[in-house]
Symmetry: C2
Subunit: 278 residues, 2 copies
């Protein structure tokens, strides 16, 4: 049974529902809505299913966000929304309309095409596998295949940033900078990748490392989290970044998505435009 005390949003899709879910999540961040439940209805195939879902929505007083590419299902949900006085928001419809109107293409009307097993898909899977393998300085023999080499001292978010970029199809290797240890010669022989050096304000890094020590049950007073040691590490890193010609990015108080956005922009700057599906 649905909990009728809390606010609920239905996400409906004739595919997985990831896209509508992403928009709902972005919207929720704009409200102080601590107890909003999101119920996802995936792979909707029939008008009957839609009727049942919309009646349930009306009953519990929720609204519906949907991505349906089959015109008959879209029409059904629109009609039911009016009949039952339930708000129903079409996420892809308006963009599809803009597309048809601006470029005069006809849509395919096949659910699930976003997740089809095509070249782009396999390229992304390969990039993720590569990136996991080349995390934290591992698998040096494969570095030559990297699109991006990410460098940074401990706790500058190398791993999640690498993974986020891998989801966009980039093969990312990352390497942890440790004071007094120069990167291996192989690092200086990479020709085809972009070098990104991560930096952070020493104060922030001290805070993050102290938290880390606490989480590990260690005293936060260890040298690892001291301002002196952190400052030295960051200076040592800067020297390596200069040697490698890294693009240096300050990640202080920046979310992974923000930094990844900047990196993708830098990569595409030379081309100015990046193409979807490359």
């Amino acid at each position: 049974m649905l909990n009728e005390q809390s606010s609920t949003i239905f996400v409906c899709s004739d595919s997985v529902g990831e896209t509508a879910d992403a928009v709902v999540r972005a919207t929720l961040s704009q409200f102080d809505a601590e107890k909003v439940n999101v119920k996802r209805w995936s792979h909707i195939k029939s008008e009957d299913e839609i009727r049942n879902i919309m009646e349930e929505a009306a009953r519990i007083g929720c609204f519906v966000v949907y991505t349906l590419v089959l015109p008959e299902l879209r029409e059904m949900i629109r009609q039911e929304a009016i009949r039952l006085k339930v708000f129903a928001v079409d996420i892809m419809g308006p963009v599809m309309e803009a597309f048809v109107h601006t470029f005069h293409f006809a849509p395919k009307e096949t659910p699930g095409l976003l997740h089809q097993l095509d070249t782009t898909y396999f390229k992304r899977v390969e990039a993720i596998e590569y990136t996991v393998k080349c995390d934290d300085g591992q698998a040096q023999a494969d570095w030559q295949k990297a699109d991006i080499m990410l460098l940074g001292v401990s706790r500058t978010s190398k791993t999640p940033l690498s993974i986020f970029l891998a989801h966009k199809g980039y093969k990312v290797a990352n390497y942890p900078i440790v004071p007094e240890v120069n990167p291996p010669q192989a690092m200086f022989e990479l020709g085809n990748c972009i070098f990104i050096g991560l930096t952070m304000s020493p104060e922030s890094l001290v805070r993050i490392r102290a938290e880390r020590l606490k989480a590990m049950g260690l005293p936060p007073t260890a040298a690892y989290a001291s301002l002196k040691r952190v400052t030295e590490e960051l200076e040592f890193a800067q020297a390596i970044y200069r040697k490698l010609g890294c693009i240096v990015l300050d990640v202080t108080e920046r979310a992974i998505e923000e930094t990844a956005g900047t990196i993708v922009e830098r990569i595409s700057e030379s081309r100015f435009m990046y193409e979807i599906n490359t």
Copy 2:
């Protein structure tokens, strides 16, 4: 300079633009649009910026998809769209309206809240770090902390699936099943995680492994890609799944997003509803 020969879509945001980009990507999959360029304009702050972007859009004949949470910027883009006859699609606005109308909350109108460094954010980062560390049977000492243990023979998409689930905040360990090798005792002592066993049609797996061998420059006739060996491996895996009480999922011809969706559904079934931000 923009290439005026090809179709272009502008993605505009007062934050990163990930959400609008996701909707555009989903929409593009519905068209045979090989050469559509997507240009992203992030961190838009002023009405002047919007005027310039919209004039550029009118000049090259493209349309605009936007997520703007500041009302004055939303109003500006609406007006400019009418003035310049450019299609402009508001992605979050209609969902925000439905939210306000249905639940009577007021939005915060602060850009970038989706990417703020809050508890959810750090939980996700931790999950990704955990999952990378526990890939491919590694870091057994940490298995006790797993939310999900994924098992499968070679090439059943364990790594990308684990990473995709980690992005949703789940700590995932994955373990490669190798014939005649029983998982370590530690596997049978895990109490708090969900066991997922991946399987696939032997024919598909043979095809995928043969491709893999080809990509590695090896003859596709190796036992690794033979129907006999693959069938044996899958049967051995099934026996282990039974011992562990795994939920068994057939991933033949299924995209990672599809399988991940099924897993999340299974996890939330006991609760029926899952909460955003948990």
